[in-house]
């Protein structure tokens, strides 16, 4: 491909990990010098981190109107950068922002769009991507038929690869945006201090009906916190009101792909299995040896989670 534009997102002092994943994925399709980053109101210090992943050119959109993020304005701004860079492909991470912004951008430029890609093949002419459907019960291979194409990539699937750091040339771009187009904007963001989301976590510890009540969730939380992971839940647990919706893993919850998924007291309904089946490793703990989860796991401990979890947590602690 001649040119690929990648959407970068700043996070604290650097960029989001998902931005590095998108850079790495772009470099599978074209040489590093053909990949151009686009960011919104980022600092040169933040953007310098892109160099560690081999990106050397970034266009940094500057607009006071975008100090409060607005998807309608961001789409206009990215559209203007696309007009300048003329990419064959525009890549976003499939996080909350990317999944909302990418289809707006694709529609503006009349581009084919596929979300949540986990792999792609490019033979020099045709781009064929793979995306999970039915929450991962099947995979669809799709061909994008337009000249310029837009994709979002599932987080945690394309591993970001560091390489010899290059210096990043940042071009600030003042985009003329119209305040009247700021029809929707983020008016506040309350951060979950110290609480990691299942979509961002490398390790997830989830509880199911076997946990018996919200008062026992400390067993799950202790292990998650020891491993630096996130707390998840089955639908039964969320429907019972024991845990918030945001923690639900499965077909009507979040579809996750962590390196390690630990399912505690989860029998493994088909909807739950669909939501976590792309985890790299799965450890299941359940007292019912016939539970469907044991057909889907790499490691299984057949036993009562109330005796297994404290021991497991102790032993991992001792091993650290």
């Amino acid at each position: 491909m001649n040119k690929i534009l990648v959407f970068l997102e700043a996070n604290n002092d650097s960029l989001k990990r998902t931005s590095y994943e998108v850079i790495t994925a772009a470099k599978r399709l074209t040489a590093g010098e053909n990949v151009v980053g686009v960011a919104i109101n980022a600092s040169a210090e933040q953007l310098a981190f892109a160099g560690e992943f081999g990106l050397s050119n970034v266009i940094n959109i500057k607009s006071d109107l975008l100090n409060d993020y607005s998807s309608t304005l961001a789409a206009n701004a990215v559209n203007e950068v696309i007009g300048e860079v003329k990419p064959d492909l525009v890549l976003f991470s499939g996080n909350a922002r990317g999944l909302e912004l990418a289809p707006r951008v694709a529609t503006k430029i009349a581009a084919a769009y596929v979300s949540d890609c986990i792999d792609f093949e490019y033979d020099g002419a045709e781009l064929i991507v793979k995306k999970p459907i039915y929450a991962g019960k099947a995979i669809s291979k799709m061909k994008l038929l337009t000249g310029t194409k837009v994709l979002t990539l599932r987080p945690n699937v394309f591993t970001a690869v560091k390489q010899d750091a290059t210096s990043v040339s940042v071009t600030d771009k003042a985009v003329a945006l119209n305040a009247a187009d700021k029809k929707v904007y983020v008016s506040s963001l309350a951060k979950n201090e110290g609480k990691l989301d299942v979509l961002e976590a490398d390790i997830i510890v989830s509880g199911g009906r076997g946990i018996k009540g919200p008062e026992n969730y400390n067993l799950i939380e202790d292990l998650a916190s020891l491993l630096g992971g996130a707390v998840g839940a089955s639908r039964a647990v969320v429907d019972a009101g024991w845990r918030p919706h945001g923690e639900q893993v499965g077909q009507t919850g979040k579809t996750v792909s962590p390196t390690l998924y630990i399912a505690c007291g989860i029998s493994g309904a088909i909807q739950h299995l669909a939501g976590m089946s792309s985890s790299k490793f799965i450890l299941a703990i359940n007292k019912d040896k016939e539970a469907p989860i044991f057909k889907m796991c790499d490691y299984g401990i057949i036993g009562d989670l109330f005796t297994v979890l404290p021991q497991l947590t102790e032993k991992i602690k001792a091993n650290k």
């Binding site: 949540d116 459907i133 929450a135 099947a138």
Partner: protein, 249 residues
């Protein structure tokens, strides 16, 4: 308030998915099709907005004749008007759906368009944004709390690592996430009444495909499948394997 709810017809989430012969579609044999679960939340939100502000709730689906069954469900829940944008077959992409929904929405001129955050078949989450561009309307995806006062819209949603509060104004597009409300179950008399209510039919317009399905595959991840007891020795063994074999802790 003029409320439009867009819904889709999907396999029940308990369905086992098998690829049909031909390799490009799923085998529908034995599959129960239902209203997309997130769309039920969108319908419920539409009904609540009507209960509060007055107005009309119109429910639209794109699909073949069989899709009328989920409009009956929406009618039983209490929507005022049901519309099917009729397609000749199931062979179309998401952009076709978006263009057709936008085309219909233009004739209705709604104050608010409600949808589920995603259809649990292709899981694309793209419809609110795509419709937003086609209709030149703001959109907020994956909403867990919605407040409308006059024309001011305040929506909350969970994002990675926090909760965003979003401000917008009507007319606006909102996609519903679990937690926004608990959808009502239709009552038996309403289900009976819905059977004889009219469904308006609109013919789908032609839209050139942008994406083509080349084939479907089943996920093929091989699992190690090592099962052990809950003895202290076995648990220690698992910790060792996680450390040395999987190298994840």
């Amino acid at each position: 308030m003029n409320i439009l709810v867009c819904i889709s017809r999907v396999p029940d989430t308990a369905s086992r998915i098998i690829v049909a012969s031909g390799g490009k579609t799923i085998d529908n044999t034995g599959i129960k099709f239902v209203v997309n679960p997130y769309d039920e939340i969108a319908i419920e939100e539409g009904l609540r907005l009507r209960e509060k502000n007055g107005g009309t709730v119109t429910c639209v689906v794109l699909g073949t004749e069989v899709s009328k069954d989920i409009l009956r469900t929406a009618l039983a829940m209490g929507v005022d008007k049901a519309v099917i944008i009729k397609t000749a077959d199931d062979n179309y992409d998401s952009y076709f759906t978006a263009e057709n929904l936008a085309n219909y929405a233009k004739t209705l001129n709604p104050d608010i368009i409600l949808l589920g955050k995603q259809s649990v078949d292709y899981d694309s989450l793209q419809m609110p944004s795509t419709l937003g561009e086609l209709l030149n309307m703001p959109s907020v995806s994956v909403v867990t709390k919605l407040t409308i006062e006059g024309t001011n819209v305040t929506a909350e949603r969970e994002v990675e690592g926090g909760k965003e509060v979003i401000s917008s104004t009507l007319p606006c597009i909102i996609s519903a996430q679990k937690g926004l409300n608990d959808p009502r179950y239709p009552k038996l008399p309403d289900i009976m009444k819905a059977k004889s209510k009219p469904i308006e039919e609109v013919a789908a317009i032609e839209v050139a495909a942008r994406v083509e399905i080349v084939g479907l595959e089943m996920p093929s991840k091989k699992r190690i499948g090592k099962l052990v007891t809950d003895s202290e020795v076995d648990i220690a063994e698992i910790v060792k394997l996680l450390h040395e074999e999987a190298k994840v802790i």
